[in-house]
């Protein structure tokens, strides 16, 4: 029986001082700078539009990048990747339609903030959190990629299962006070996640003979339906009865005090995001969920979450952008993609005749540092774009609902259809919207459903894989220390507060 934890055969080579000498190659070449700016702008737009994802954009642009040299071409794709993850937050906050799955958690509190007339504050916070998360993760990539990449090896199915359990442990308390309803919502999400071919048995479930469902339900149509279409239907009921109270204050950016207040959350989420990003099987969507959960768990006022808490925006945004740098760690250092978009960038490297992996660090330092500095530059750029844009974009919340929401509906349909040019996705979106309205009316929140949906596939698959690896013995988990730490955290999260209260009550007597 092989030892369950990764054994390092040989120590990874220390990288020495990061190659500042290569930075000049990036920052003095106007073509590279121009490409990074274009990549960042395209990324923000593509990220913001529901149905267009950064992985799709990177894949579409891959053949064109062939006309360029390796450094500009990969710098371009990497900048697009960084900015695309950030872009998703804009539509999530303004119109409750997450532009990409990683931004789903941003909508939980970002949209309520916009409704309260704090769109600018939410967008500004999202920008600063994204840039901080992205920058920290790139710095980590710069200093420790070959060492950290090894973390990926110590994460097998049991560790993923424990991570997913930790995420789901917040299910009951993720939103509002209706714990039972949250649990029911979470189960509904898990149930939706079972649609499609089961990975471990190859049996298709709940597909009703529709071939498009074999691969499972796509996240984007469900998210658009559950958030934006539900909101539209809700708004439609109030139309004409409620006047808009949103004022020009909506354009105000976050204050320094705001940023100081969320700084701890940003740092925590950056760490979480970088770490989860490094894991090859998981990307920014799970990172954002866990980032949101932890922001709530550590908050002094968790009851504000879901009603427009500024930490609820900073938490997921820092985490999902940190996951982009994290995802590049195994991509470059091991040649194993850390996310769907990183997989396409990996393809881009291969198309250039390069073979990503341990050798790349020895043979192509100029290229690697070119990518690092391009990503840093892209982060700095969307700080500017984001803060200026926040003032501009937030005007959207001043548009009267009667004009805004019909336009949003058009965008929803285009987005759902555009994903794979499939009408099935459009019907899924419509169904999710109607379901969302019904659930909202009876006091169910969207957050637990989304969480069940995001973590459902992971929790089921990783458990099934773990049980095969452990010869169907549950005791196998006892031999996996990393998994045990996650289980303890999960139990602490559920039982910690009641236990403390009980302890205090006993002492008080």
């Amino acid at each position: 029986m092989p030892p369950p934890v990764a054994r390092r055969r040989r120590p990874a080579e220390p990288m020495g001082l990061p190659g500042l000498e290569f930075a000049a190659a990036v920052f003095t070449d106007p073509t590279v700078i121009g490409l990074i700016i274009v990549g960042t702008l395209v990324g923000v737009v593509v990220g913001a539009l529901p149905g267009l994802s950064s992985s799709m954009a990177v894949a579409l642009l891959l053949p064109f990048s062939l006309y360029l040299d390796p450094i500009p071409s990969i710098a371009f794709l990497a900048a697009l990747y960084c900015a695309g993850t950030f872009g998703g937050s804009i539509t999530a906050i303004l119109i409750n339609a997450p532009g990409a799955p990683p931004a789903a958690a941003t909508a939980f509190d970002g949209y309520p903030m916009a409704q309260k007339g704090e769109a600018g504050r939410a967008l500004g916070t999202a920008t600063i959190a994204s840039v901080t998360g992205g920058t920290i993760s790139v710095l980590v990539l710069l200093f420790a990629a070959p060492l950290l990449a090894r973390v990926a090896y110590s994460f097998g199915p049991p560790e993923y299962f424990a991570l997913a359990v930790l995420g789901l442990s917040m299910l009951a308390t993720i939103s509002g006070e209706a714990r039972l309803k949250n649990l029911i919502g979470g189960c509904l999400g898990l149930l939706i996640a079972t649609i499609g071919i089961d990975l471990t048995t190859g049996v298709d479930r709940f597909t009703f003979g529709v071939p498009e469902l074999l691969d499972g339900i796509h996240f984007i149509p469900v998210l658009i339906g559950l958030f934006a279409v539900t909101e539209l239907l809700t708004q439609a009921q109030h139309l004409g009865r409620k006047t808009s109270v949103v004022t020009l204050a909506a354009l105000k950016l976050p204050s320094l005090a705001d940023i100081r207040g969320v700084f701890a959350t940003i740092l925590r989420s950056s760490g979480i995001g970088t770490f989860i990003g490094i894991l090859p099987a998981e990307g920014s969507t799970v990172a954002a969920m866990i980032g949101y959960n932890e922001a709530k768990r550590w908050s002094k006022r968790p009851e504000d979450f879901g009603k427009g808490a500024i930490d609820g925006v900073a938490g997921p945004e820092a985490a999902n952008n940190a996951a982009t740098g994290g995802a590049m760690v195994p991509t470059l250092a091991l040649g194993i993609p850390g996310s769907a978009t990183a997989a396409v960038i990996l393809g881009g490297l291969q198309v250039q005749g390069l073979r990503p992996g341990p050798f790349l660090f020895e043979e192509q330092p100029a290229l690697l540092y070119g990518i690092f500095f391009a990503m840093l530059f892209a982060n700095a750029l969307f700080l500017v774009i984001g803060l200026i844009g926040a003032k501009v974009f937030s005007r959207l919340s001043l548009v009267p609902p009667a004009l805004l929401w019909p336009s949003v509906l058009v965008l929803c349909f285009v987005g759902a259809y555009g994903l794979e040019q499939s009408m099935v996705d459009v019907w899924v979106m419509v169904a999710a919207g109607i379901l969302g309205l019904a659930l909202k009316r009876y006091g169910f929140a969207a957050a637990p459903i989304v969480m069940g949906l995001v973590l459902g596939g992971l929790v089921e698959t990783s458990l099934a894989q773990s049980m095969i690896i452990f010869d169907q013995q549950w005791s196998g988990f006892l031999g996996r220390p990393i998994a045990l730490v996650f289980f303890v955290l999960a139990i602490g999260g559920i039982a910690g507060a009641p236990a403390l209260r009980a302890l205090r009550a006993m002492r008080g007597r």
């Binding site: 499609g196 198309v351 894989q465």
Partner: protein
Amino acid sequence: MFEATGREPMVRGRVSALKRLVETLGLLTCAAVLVGAVHAQERFPSGPIDIVTHASPGGGTDTTARTLLIGAREALGTDIAVIPRTGGGGIVAMSYVANRPRDGHTVLAITPTHLFAIARGQGPLTIDDLVPVARATDDPLVITVRSDSGIDDIEDLIALGRERPIKWGSTQVGSIDHVAGAVFAQVAGTELAVVPFAGGGEIVTNLMGGSIDAAALNLTEALQQIERGEFSALAVMAGERIEALPDTPTTVELGYDATFSTVRGYVVLRGTDEASIEILEQGLLAAMDHPSYLAYLDGAGLSRSAVAGREAWGEQLEQLYGDARQAMIDLGIIQP
């Protein structure tokens, strides 16, 4: 003659006069041959061409197709797009293509995974519907273990498998590496416990981390780690040794008749006009001779010899389908 030059593809950028001359001459020859055949035929391609894949962005099939685009656009003088129709082991992609007009403007990227699906009777197509156009890559499967696993050769692995089931990493049920593992286990008389993962990258990390004992990895997925000394290649699942791993025996040499390779190629559906297929074949072959495609093959560790025209590809397609059917029969999945 004027009509023939009208067929000339768009030449972009600064192409040397010589190259242009050669291209024009080539096309004139081509046109001369085709003049009879295309007589009453519409000009092909008369619009954009779609390459339909079953793989999500970043996978081997997707990257192969996208790398082709530049050269193919030049050679065919039309816009070409990759259309991903993911899911169901190629069934979604095949259903999509089955509903498109059979005029050569829709090209299907085929892998053994599609052939397994067809052999199982899934999806709307049969093997007779597929008309070969060109072969793109040949990525053999390699039985791989961790170097410090104590398993030094295939006999060690088989001995382990007779003690307890080998924990065998594989992509989804019914995929080529799953079938490869099952067939190998059958001919070697050993037991497998198949652990399915979503993709090759996850298998590599889990093999490295020790959660699984062995896997049949594509050469492109395993080569880095093998060169690095982290993985040992026990056997190449092929009839002949391969360039990249000259010292690794093949399964056939070792006496186990289990050969599997992820061969990717392009087909159109039966009913497509013969002249269009010929233009398409020439266009795709030219595209795969383009420096960008060759750089990709080299970068990924793939052999350049995989690129082949429709005759060689057609023969192999037939043989691959026969193998796929036989594997399904041997495993008791379908009746002969």
